[in-house]
């Protein structure tokens, strides 16, 4: 083991961590913006939209992220329409392809999480809001969403960790994220363990940071609820 190689190339890994964090957090943010209206529309069974959203969620949750990424990055360039369009400068970049794919993927998972949380909101909370004379929109904004989103926190925390883990496939299309940095190190010095082990440790560390952050959020925003908080939970137990 030549750990001094890792220390000498610390900037490579620092940039990798930054790239992974950036891709993950941006994808989660855009995904959340997709998921909020989609989740509400699903919970309220909005006629045509509901079907369309079911199809979107099924497609993205039922297939591997790597194949989705290949389809966007390699697949779209097959069409001349895409190559000649104004979007080509964006769609030819690996970074933007990864971000678009991850955002759509995370949006599909988050849609289901939000739908579940909205559907399990006690009817009385909504009725109380309406009885106080709030409009439907006000009830959604002031009663439904604050109540539903905080109950979605534990599951959303899982989604955050799995999005971060899922983002490793970005390294396959040449993006220098954490794993990309590890692969570069291994290729440059012709070593087999150092790059991958460092990457594994960095992903593990990031996972703990995210899990801790969500545990903090949960103990703050779920305090009023009479449920047992998962104190001993170190890592997400449920899967995507």
């Amino acid at each position: 083991m030549k750990w001094d190689l890792v220390l000498e190339n610390w900037e490579l890994f620092a940039n990798g961590v930054w790239m992974t964090l950036q891709l993950t957090l941006l994808a989660l943010a855009i995904g959340f913006c997709i998921a909020l209206p989609c989740g509400l529309a699903r919970a309220r069974r909005v006629p045509i939209l509901n079907r369309a959203i079911v199809a979107y969620v099924y497609l993205f949750r039922g297939t591997p992220l790597l194949v989705q990424l290949y389809l966007v990055y390699y697949g779209l360039s097959q069409f001349d329409v895409v190559r000649d369009s104004f979007a080509w400068p964006i769609l030819r970049e690996a970074y933007w392809c990864a971000l678009i794919t991850f955002a759509l993927n995370s949006g599909a998972y988050a849609t289901e999480i939000i739908r579940g949380a909205v559907e399990t909101t006690p009817e009385g909370e909504i009725e109380a809001g309406l009885a106080l004379g709030l409009t439907k929109f006000q009830v959604t904004r002031l009663v439904l969403l604050p109540s539903a989103l905080r109950r979605a926190l534990p599951q959303y925390g899982n989604e955050v960790v799995f999005m971060m883990h899922g983002s490793v496939v970005a390294s396959v299309i040449t993006i220098q994220d954490i794993l990309g940095a590890g692969r570069t190190l291994n290729a440059k010095y012709y070593v087999a363990y150092e790059g991958f082990l460092t990457a594994a440790l960095l992903y593990m560390a990031l996972t703990f940071v995210f899990v801790m952050a969500f545990r903090g959020l949960e103990s703050r925003y779920l305090k009023h609820l009479d449920i047992e908080l998962p104190k001993r939970r170190l890592l997400p137990a449920a899967m995507r």
């Binding site: 099924y58 497609l59 039922g62 297939t63 591997p64 992220l65 790597l66 194949v67 989705q68 290949y70 389809l71 390699y74 697949g75 779209l76 360039s77 097959q78 069409f79 971060m164 883990h165 899922g166 490793v168 496939v169 390294s171 396959v172 794993l179 590890g182 692969r183 291994n186 087999a192 363990y193 991958f196 082990l197 990457a199 594994a200 992903y203 593990m204 996972t207 703990f208 170190l234 890592l235 997400p236 137990a237 449920a238 899967m239 995507r240």
Partner: protein, 228 residues
């Protein structure tokens, strides 16, 4: 589209590689998960510490990192060992590296599923069986196991769905599975979109078939009468 039709037999063989890899990995993960859960429930302090380390560390690492580590790191380890003992060059199989990595990874998740399901079985039932004079093995097989399966099935089905999708990343080390073959073929005939769309459809078919299967299993092990 004609190109795709010509390649369908090849891609279906790739799908067979994907599915068989997933099933073997699931078997390995089930064994590891059961062993880890048993160690966590009945083991002493050392066994529990080993299991906790395994489930905690492994669940913090993404699938692709583990696969690359086991495939390339394992090859280097075999080479070093071979040089020491004077073997011929032994090449690590991509297929088995994939089975090993994915099985090892999802064993950690299944350990949690199994432990949770075991804890849900009411203690009184096992005590009741003993009080009626049942021996430990029949108690396990006829009282604990049917309920354990009922509680573990939803989580188990969930892990399987994620595991299947995880097999796609084994193509990164050059395995000729569904994704790897579609990648090569799609690029060589310059129709990657159509080929990857076919892969998506294949994965949806696998997901659909396994959902149907697990739903049937859950109905089979459900409490009769309570869930019509």
């Amino acid at each position: 589209m004609d190109q795709l039709l010509a390649y369908i037999p090849l891609l279906l063989r790739g799908a067979l590689v994907t599915v068989s890899l997933a099933v073997l990995a699931l078997i390995l993960a089930t064994c590891l998960g059961a062993l880890a859960a048993a160690g966590r429930i009945t083991g002493g302090r050392i066994a529990r510490a080993i299991v906790t380390t395994y489930t905690t560390l492994v669940r913090g690492v993404p699938d692709l990192v583990l696969i690359l580590l086991i495939y390339f790191g394992g090859q280097r380890a075999i080479n070093d060992l071979g040089a020491m003992l004077g073997w011929e060059y032994v090449a690590l199989s991509k297929y088995w590296s994939g089975v090993l990595s994915i099985g090892f990874l999802y064993g950690a998740y299944l350990a949690e599923t199994f432990r949770g399901a075991y804890r849900t079985i009411p203690r009184g039932q096992i005590e009741g069986a003993y009080a009626l004079g049942m021996r430990p093995v029949p108690t396990l097989l006829r009282v604990s196991l049917p309920q354990f399966i009922r509680f573990a099935l939803p989580g188990y089905a969930n892990v399987w769905q994620v595991l299947v999708k995880s097999t796609a990343v084994v193509s990164v080390i050059g395995l000729e599975d569904l994704v790897g073959l579609a990648n090569d073929a799609g690029k060589s005939v310059r129709e990657p979109f159509i080929f990857f769309s076919f892969v998506l459809v294949m994965y949806l078919v696998i997901t659909y078939v396994s959902t149907t299967f697990f739903e049937a299993m859950e109905r089979r092990y459900a409490l009769k009468g309570r869930h019509p």
